[in-house]
């Protein structure tokens, strides 16, 4: 068939040449039936070609070639339902004795290639293949996106939990003198963790696809509540004074002179008031830590959702553009298989 150009299978697989065959001749040996891997290869080669014929070669040698042909037909139909209707013929391309037997192959190939509908069939097949590839790619993309979302949200939650545990330990040891230093350190840690997780999100998103770096609005941790507690201070002063007077009276009675109770009474009153104030401060800091970490968590989850949405939108736009310009219909020729 000198009118046609015949190429080997590796030339179709080579994506650099936009080569699309008009017909595929799948050549297998009559030694034994084909395997699952061969069926998969046939599907790959025939991705953009509807005209396919199967050839069982070396029929001069193998007495059971008809059984092998029947088995090949059944196996291909089972593992590649798309190719169930393929015409199978026997051939002896290079017999040990006598002349080559290729008439059946030529006839079958001629029938396929002379079909006036061939171009339309092949184009339809190519479109179906592209659509199937896009669907498969989309499904894979969704799966990947879903996995990234799970990973990133769990990373954000874990970071929040760790930070809360760390900051609560600090809050429990704060005194009124160290309070401002502790608050400053807590705010620094908060910002550090935010940056760290934000970097992780950016890294993972960058691995998913090209996307302009998003500029998230700068977020600061909430301020700790002010130390206004007038009513409580007044209450503690009254209670502390009462307790101090009681201690002073007791010490004065025991010592036998009224002046001896003055110093212990004042000291105890002052200690009670101060201790109560420190405990109150720590409780306030602790609540602040919970609020601040909650804010951090919400902020991070927000960023994860936003960035994933952006990357998904960009990807969909890209796929849409790719889907619009379908494979260039290059020179179509006939191709031999394995």
């Amino acid at each position: 068939m000198p009118r046609f150009r015949f190429v080997e299978s590796h030339e179709i697989a080579d994506s650099t040449t936009s080569f699309v065959p008009s017909a595929l001749v799948l050549v297998v040996s009559a030694t034994a039936p084909i395997g699952v891997v061969d069926c998969a290869a046939a599907l790959t080669w025939a991705a953009h070609t509807d005209a396919v014929i199967g050839v069982v070669n070396k029929i001069d040698d193998h007495r059971a070639w008809r059984q092998v042909l029947a088995a090949d037909r059944a196996l291909l139909a089972a593992h590649a339902p798309r190719l169930a209707g393929v015409a199978w013929v026997g051939a002896a391309a290079a017999p040990r004795l006598g002349t080559a037997q290729l008439d059946a192959v030529v006839a079958a190939l001629d029938r396929e290639l002379s079909d006036p509908d061939l171009a339309r069939r092949n184009d339809a097949r190519a479109r179906q293949s592209v659509a199937a590839a896009v669907r498969a790619e989309q499904a894979q993309w969704r799966h990947r996106l879903h996995r990234e979302r799970l990973d990133l949200t769990s990373a954000a939650r874990r970071a929040g939990t760790d930070l809360r545990a760390e900051l609560q330990v600090e809050a429990r040891t704060a005194t009124s003198r160290t309070r401002s230093a502790v608050v400053a350190r807590m705010r620094r840690r908060w910002a550090e963790v935010l940056d760290q997780i934000d970097d992780e999100i950016a890294g993972r998103i960058a691995a998913l696809g090209d996307l302009p770096p998003a500029s998230a609005p700068a977020v600061r941790p909430p301020d700790p509540p002010p130390r206004s507690r007038r009513l409580e201070t007044q209450l503690m002063v009254v209670l502390g004074a009462g307790f101090g007077v009681g201690v002073a009276l007791m010490v004065a009675r025991l010592a036998g002179m009224p002046i001896a109770g003055l110093v212990p009474g004042v000291a105890v009153a002052a200690w009670v008031v101060r201790a109560r104030a420190v405990l109150h401060d720590r409780a306030v800091l602790d609540r602040w830590v919970v609020d601040a970490v909650e804010l951090l968590r919400i902020e991070l989850l927000d960023r994860v959702s936003t960035r994933l949405l952006e990357v998904d939108a960009a990807h969909t736009a890209l796929m849409h553009r790719a889907g619009l310009d379908t494979r260039p219909a290059g020179p179509r020729s006939t191709v031999t298989g394995r």
Binding site: S29, T31, A32, P33, G35, V36, V37, D38, K58, I59, D60, D61, H62, R63, W65, V68, A71, A92, A94, P95, R96, L97, G98, Q101
Partner: protein, 330 residues
């Protein structure tokens, strides 16, 4: 001269002098043939190879878990499906390139082509690969077939292809020709016709068996099975040592196990293993040869080899020292 003492024979002598059902059981286990599983993808002639091996006395088993050796049958080439069978085999594996007569056109003949293919795949897979025409290994020809062969000698038929042979006009009826080609294939048929012209009719099957290369496959299978046989000998020795701790015949059994006969039987099994791997063993029977062999294999026993070959080397060294000590002049 080669020392070949089988542990089973040593044990048979032992129970011959004094019957012991436990030792007899060990002996029976040692004598049981190595179990072989035959595997292969569809259409490569797995069943034919299994039948040919069975016909030659090989214990073919259906269960993979039961097998001590595996035969993987391929035809023409190694496909991706074959590779799945060949990788990660849990037991020693022999690859049989079946349908060696259908290898393809080669000026030197199909079997020479098959030899080349087998050598190439042997190197590529790192496994022993031997060609075989399983169809011809256990062929049975009736009087009718021999008559037909005689007729084919007198009037040659068209052998250009299998279809041509069955379809051409010839005095031998087409169904008989179909039957002949199913039994012999073209290469087998050509050899059968040649055998008919050269000698008596009963020489045909022998000639076909020689063409089939089944003997080379059996030899390769014996080589592949050597580690399994050695493992059996080691397992038998362990069992016997436990039995020797019992009272009664225990002392005699212990003396037997420490004796030269057993040491030489273990050496025989070890020599089989290393020779199957292609390592030559000096079989000289002079004192000089024994001491040289003992020194060489003692050194190898400490070399960075795998456990099996270190053990075999130690057993060969031990047996050689016994021979040197005059335990048995072989």
């Amino acid at each position: 001269m080669r020392v070949t003492i089988q542990l089973a024979d040593v044990l048979a002598d032992f129970v011959g002098a004094e019957s012991n059902s436990d030792v007899t059981a060990v002996e029976r286990r040692l004598r049981a043939p190595v179990r072989v599983a035959v595997r292969g993808r569809r259409g490569v002639g797995r069943a034919t190879v299994a039948a040919a091996l069975s016909g030659c006395g090989v214990a073919v088993t259906d269960r993979d878990s039961d097998a001590e050796v595996r035969v993987v049958v391929i035809a023409e080439t190694v496909t991706a499906d074959d590779r799945a069978l060949l990788t990660g085999a849990p037991v020693p594996t022999l690859v049989v390139l079946n349908k060696a007569d259908l290898g393809g056109p080669s000026p030197a003949g199909p079997l020479a082509e098959a030899d080349e293919t087998a050598a190439w795949w042997g190197a590529a897979l790192g496994l022993p690969v031997v060609p075989l025409i399983a169809l011809l290994a256990s062929v049975e020809l009736s009087g009718e077939h021999l008559t037909a062969l005689r007729a084919l000698v007198a009037a040659p038929a068209d052998l250009a292809s299998v279809d041509a042979f069955v379809g051409c006009t010839h005095p031998v009826p087409a169904p008989v020709r179909r039957d002949l080609i199913d039994r012999l294939d073209r290469v087998g048929l050509a050899h059968a016709i040649l055998a008919m012209t050269q000698g008596p009719a009963d020489g045909v099957t022998a000639r076909l068996r020689a063409v089939s290369r089944i003997d080379a496959v059996l030899a390769a299978l014996a080589d592949v099975a050597a580690p399994a046989r050695y493992a059996r000998v080691r397992a038998a020795l362990r069992t016997l040592r436990v039995l020797a701790t019992r009272t009664g015949t225990g002392e005699r059994l212990a003396a037997l196990l420490d004796g030269d006969e057993v040491a030489l039987a273990v050496m025989t099994a070890a020599v089989d293993v290393v020779e199957a791997r292609g390592a030559p063993v000096d079989h000289g029977s002079e004192a000089d040869a024994h001491s040289r062999r003992a020194a060489l294999w003692q050194a190898r026993a400490g070399a960075p080899l795998d456990v099996l070959h270190r053990r075999c080397a130690a057993d060969i060294a031990r047996g050689s020292l016994r021979l040197l000590g005059g335990g048995r002049r072989a």
